[in-house]
Assembly symmetry: C2
Homo-oligomer: 345 residues x 2
């Protein structure tokens, strides 16, 4: 960046004006957006769905390899994913950030460019938020609000014995993208002369830096097939961890078929290059933002020819536990290994 405007030159309100001047309201339900104490949403008889997340620098993202524009985009997407996973449609977001004066206006602009790009792509309105300072580091808190129909909202607790377990897209790439970025960071730190070797890994790195939420499923494929899953969750912490959430909430067990877990060949190869087990990356990696859901067996025909959906197991009685049926024919208990990170001060 050549130009650097200090945040103090604008002042807080000037900064808000500056950051939000390009925001356009798109949804009729966004009755009142930025510019008042609160946003007002005009929902008729729809259900309002709200989700919120907080992202910390050094924990959820590393600015050494996360471009701020991508970070803005991703921060929005991970929240929208939570709304879609309710079988609801996100309509509004609020974005709050706390940042130190290491961040220039141009840097914040980049972040908000990413926020706006996500808002455009997902057709959501940025209706509010807060900008403030931190003594150290960047913190991002986003709240997403959406609408859904009462009888079509999909919770974690609706899975029942005999239901079929499905997953969208492919898993493990976001985790491996992170490993590549971390490797190149370490090489750079030990020798800043070496150019990063991100090579042919655009897809894998893109899954880490700029994930997408499955709006296609919620807006197109499910309604077109008249499919309402019995339970659904988005995969932020890894398939295993999310399956445990569904089973716990629904009071059921599950058998996951290793052969049904979708992994791209290039992702599988990348795992092997890192001497990692591909299925472990797929089950515990996280951040893929795909959807894990269960359907009534009567609905099997609806998903059979739906694009990008994989049948990967079934729901069983709670007493049977949560198990992995390996490609080799073995059955053993599945472990839930999501992300755990509570760091030092």
């Amino acid at each position: 960046m050549s130009k650097r405007t200090d945040v103090n030159d604008l002042g807080e309100f000037g900064l808000i004006d500056h950051l939000t001047k390009k925001i356009e309201i798109k949804n009729p339900s966004s009755f009142k957006g930025i510019g008042d104490d609160a946003a007002v949403l005009d929902y008729g008889n729809k259900m309002v769905v709200v989700s919120t997340d907080i992202l910390s620098e050094g924990i959820h993202f590393d600015l050494m390899y996360s471009p701020l524009k991508h970070l803005g985009y991703k921060s929005v997407v991970v929240n929208l994913s939570d709304i879609y996973s309710m079988n609801a449609v996100p309509k509004q977001i609020t974005v709050s950030i706390a940042f130190s004066n290491r961040f220039s206006v141009e840097a914040l602009d980049e972040f908000y460019e990413g926020v706006k790009a996500a808002c455009d792509y997902y057709n959501v309105d940025l209706v509010g938020g807060d900008t403030t300072s931190s003594l150290k580091g960047l913190f991002i808190s986003i709240t997403a609000i959406g609408e859904g129909e009462k009888d079509k909202l999909t919770y974690r607790n609706g899975a029942k014995n005999g239901d079929i377990l499905c997953v969208t897209g492919n898993l493990g790439a976001a985790y491996l993208g992170l490993q590549i970025l971390e490797r190149e960071k370490q090489i750079f730190l030990s020798n800043p002369e070496v150019q990063p070797d991100l090579g042919k890994n655009d897809y894998i790195i893109g899954r880490q830096l700029k994930p997408e939420a499955r709006k296609d499923m919620i807006l197109q494929y499910f309604p077109k097939a008249n499919l309402v899953p019995t339970a659904m969750i988005d995969i932020s912490d890894g398939l295993s961890s999310e399956l445990f959430h569904i089973c716990k909430s629904s009071n059921v067990g599950a058998i996951l078929n290793e052969g049904g877990v979708p992994i791209r060949p290039d992702v599988e190869q990348q795992a092997i290059d890192f001497k990692l087990d591909p299925i472990t990356c797929a089950l515990s990696g996280g951040e893929d933002y795909e959807l894990l859901f269960t359907i009534d067996p009567a609905d099997i025909e609806k998903v059979k020819y739906m694009p990008d959906i994989y049948i990967c197991g079934e729901i069983v009685e709670k007493s049977e536990g949560i198990k992995l049926h390996t490609k080799g024919g073995n059955i053993h208990p599945l472990k839930a290994q999501g992300w755990v990170h509570f760091n030092n001060d």
Copy 2:
């Protein structure tokens, strides 16, 4: 605190369970609370009002003198105040926190005790949130959601020439409470043997550490008198700054009467003890969370005998500017001096 449980002993999900186990849902519109990807709010034909805030340690609060329980309470109240200032009624909040491992479970319990106390007092439901770690410091992000009637919501932009300017409660105490706490902190830092002298200043310190939002106005006095202000804002950054917001949004000017600005005698005395100008504390101090609003002159009888409301000026043409009419009879331009703080990394 005698007992200290490490956060890692619970794990993230265990921690969420732990922190939210005492949460009870009170409002029928809270259709689905904690325990899923998102909260679902069942509003009929009401308007949904959403507000969000982020608070940073070292910027918005100092844990040397802010007990965590009070901090939890205050964090909620400042957000509810934003909903009340729309003439709406808060119904739900989400609370997200990022914290370093310097915080024990007991410390977080204290924080959430304060959150719950505020939820109880203001009859709002905690319906979601996020807990995660930070490399350093505590960050709190709260989103408040409320409902209002379309024709009674009160924005910043409704003030018109001839309207009467009113303020609730009294101003300046929160700022002076902060000065007392800062003074005692400095004394303690230079000599930890000295006991803090908070003496007879309970009220003033309480206004800083545990403010309240004016639910009485919104729930009782205004509806009882059938009063709908033409514009309204809560006083978080100081009366001057808020008046500037109203005037800018409404495209009007204002004359503020110094004699009409409510300051308690003990607050006035405390200002003088600090060699500060009481009116400056009242106009620029901030954090009082009182309401500043404008009413149609035809409604003057409605507020005249309403408890705790003070008439402090009038709205004029924009060309007349925003001026202070001093007790001495002088008229000079008012300055907007809110809080500006963008600190170093």
